[in-house]
Amino acid sequence: MGSIVNTQQIINGLQVGSIYALIALGYTMVYGIVRLINFAHGDFFMLGAYAAYAAFYLFNTWFAKGSGILAFIVLLASMAAGGGVALLSNRFAYKPLRYKPKLSSLITAIGVSMFLEYFFSALPAIGPSFRAFPTVLPKRQIPIGQATISNYVVIDLAVAAILMIGLTLLVKKSSLGKAMRAVSQDKDAARLMGIDVEKVIGWTFLIGGAFAGAAGLLSGMTYPRIFPYMGIQPGLKAFIAAVLGGIGNIPGAVLGAYIMGLAETFASAYNSLLGEGIAFAILIVVLLVRPRGILGEKIADKI
């Protein structure tokens, strides 16, 4: 076991887990509020990475390369792209179907996802091939005790932690957060209480998309290769993480994402086939054994 579970693998697992967590949060928030599995969520992640790429090359003549302010601008760009497109997809694709059968929205989400992937690979300026992601911040090794970790690990974990704390505060303390919780409990009752349900849904998409965009930047920095289909696998895995933690439950999504990141890292170290398949194996086991996930509340089927 020693070679499979060691400090390095744990660090790698936590790093992947942070990226999954940021994506999973958007999935779980959107699901909690509109009961939609937004297949296109992984593509907001991809858009975040591309926006970061564009912002880096747009602004790197004005600000010093490797400076914190440039990195911050790049982060904002990735979040704006992810959030903005999420908002647009909600407005044009999901909102008109809000009160139609649930499956219509799900199929539309598949269409939106396909559209984003192929549209961006069809655009000559982007194209279907891989691109090398620039070094937004200089890479350093930080010695901790006997081991060394990359500063990127610290950045990934820190950005994820800051965003997650911000989200928790927003949901727990602000009036928007209160409205979100109300809408997720009962849309109609919330509307009767004077909550603008559509506005709350819009904010949810915006925040979820922005988080996925930020994850795109972190992923681009950590694994410096981006392409239009990069969102598919992380999107699916983050979704599975959200299901594992209990979909609709915010701490659950984070917990599920870190379990997923660690499980995947250990499984890959053991056997590459296992690494590829473990996510789906986890999904199937969870859905068969405990469909509501680890922290999910038991919901009786509505008749």
Partner: protein
Amino acid sequence: MKHFRTPKLSLYALAFYALIMALSLTGLINGYIQHIINQSLIYVILAVSLNLINGITGQFSLGHMGFAAVGAYVSGAITTLVFKVSPEAGFAGYAVFVGGIVAGGLAAALVGVLIGFPSLRLKGDYLAIVTLGFGEIIKTVLNNIPAVGGPRGLLGIPKFSNFSFIFAAAFLTLVVIRNLVESSHGRALVSIRENELAAELAGVDTTRYKVLAFAVGAFFAGIAGGLFGHLLQIAHPTQYGFMGSVLVLIMVYTGGVGSLTGSVIAAFALTFMSEGLRIVIDSLAEATSLPIGGEWRMVIYALLLVFIMLFRTEGLMGTKEARFLVIGDPAKEGTR
């Protein structure tokens, strides 16, 4: 013997077969068009069998191509690796081919039963995700079996599939699924789609029928996969991924969920549209010397799916069927 009363459908099918054969023999249809027709017919099998699961029974499955992959690999392994036959072997070769295709279908049906079981507990979007996961697992497993080529795919499959075989398979698929839908079993399947609880209270064994739908749908998908493998002479894991399943899904939803006629029309229309777009895009790229790539084809597919969902959720045909696909005359029988 009501189930075998299919005069009109047989008549139309025979006429279609004779027409294509005549056009092909007189050279009015070249090999390229013939190939597209063959592909369309395979997509007819896929779309009609997915419609049985998604449309008729209402169990949203996203892994249909996974079943086709099982069929393609099992039948391909039988003809290519085990018996090493080729069309030159004459009757014996074709016997192995037909046996392989059926074995592929049965293997896919077995996987379908396995996937049918989770569907007993899961509904709607969760089932969609599980079937998607199963499809991905099948792909991952195939990628990692060196005996069938791993990520390179199973190469050198003999070209056994021809228009006659594919046509016969498509016709049989249509007849069997149509007869199933029109039988009392079919009404049980529809009742599960309409209201599972009410169906159960009315005495429908929902468990059994859901597994039945998955098994039958998967069987025909496996047949289609086998025919595909022996048409394209390759079985590759990426052919049978998520996008492949989504293409079949688009056919089902464009044609109309619950309408077999719609699935047939959409399979033909979309396969021809896809080829037409390929030509249009290529000639546009050539004429304007702009980098217009084949990805635009998929962009159009994606938009088609979104617009159908937004503006015509029921698809082209809704749940309506063409007359010749209905057993007996609905006008005479009145309420059924």
